[in-house]
């Protein structure tokens, strides 16, 4: 059966990726706008250009100390689920589950591979670097979803 720990670590991964993506998009778009205003240029090289002294590209912290709220809630939810889970969910992995995991990882790998190919194609077609990075992150998230969907489907079917 699908381990609760896996579901929670999966949710944790998704949340981290979404937070990082959102912040990266904000920073990059802000930096890009400042860069364009100052130098009139764009392109891939702007991502690697050092920030000049006195150039404020950072986002002010308006969270008021609430930024740690989400991980705290996740930790509480993890403890609650762990306390409520049945014995089955805490059982060690066996041979059938290892086989299911291998097959699921293979399914997820194909999705990530397709996403990476799309991202490389998009880069070759002149898409902005931020979009390509988002495409790659999206492929990774889609790969994780495909992996878990495969596992759930296999467990539902009862076979390996």
């Amino acid at each position: 059966m699908l381990k609760r720990f896996d579901i929670l670590s999966y949710i944790d991964n998704i949340v981290s990726v979404l937070i990082d993506t959102g912040e990266a998009r904000h920073e990059l778009s802000r930096e890009a706008r400042l860069d364009r205003a100052r130098h009139g240029g764009g392109g891939f090289r702007r991502l690697f250009r050092p920030v000049r002294p006195g150039c404020d590209v950072g986002r002010p912290d308006r969270s008021g100390g609430r930024r740690g709220g989400s991980p705290r809630r996740l930790a509480i939810a993890t403890i609650a689920v762990a306390a409520a889970e049945p014995e089955d969910a805490r059982a060690p992995y066996d041979e059938r589950e290892r086989l299911i995991d291998l097959a699921a990882a293979r399914a997820g790998f194909y999705v990530v591979q397709a996403g990476a190919f799309l991202a490389i194609s998009a880069l070759a077609l002149g898409w902005p670097a931020v979009s390509v990075i988002n495409l790659l992150l999206g492929a990774m998230v889609a790969g994780e979803i495909a992996k878990d969907a495969w596992r759930v489907a296999t467990y539902r079917r009862g076979a390996a």
């Binding site: 059982a91 041979e95 059938r96 079917r157 009862g158 390996a160």
Partner: protein
């Protein structure tokens, strides 16, 4: 296909539950259920462990049966 007599043997051994059998062979209850229903073929090691729990030879627990072709 690999057929088995696990359900009968469980019943004969004090109505052992799938969970009990799973705990004794170091597997999950779901895997035992899948083996019992013929949806999953266990490894040789797992098959020997199951046979050992029931104190029976391997062939008394698992049998290989040829699947008949539709036009036979």
């Amino acid at each position: 296909v690999i057929a088995n007599r696990i359900r009968v043997l469980r019943f004969e051994h004090g109505e052992m539950t799938q969970g009990d059998l799973a705990a004794r062979i170091g597997m999950t209850r779901q895997t035992v259920a899948a083996i019992e229903q013929g949806k999953y073929s266990p490894t040789l090691e797992a098959a020997f462990r199951i046979a050992d729990v029931f104190g029976e030879p391997l062939e008394a627990v698992f049998q290989w049966r040829l699947k008949k072709a539709p036009n036979d």
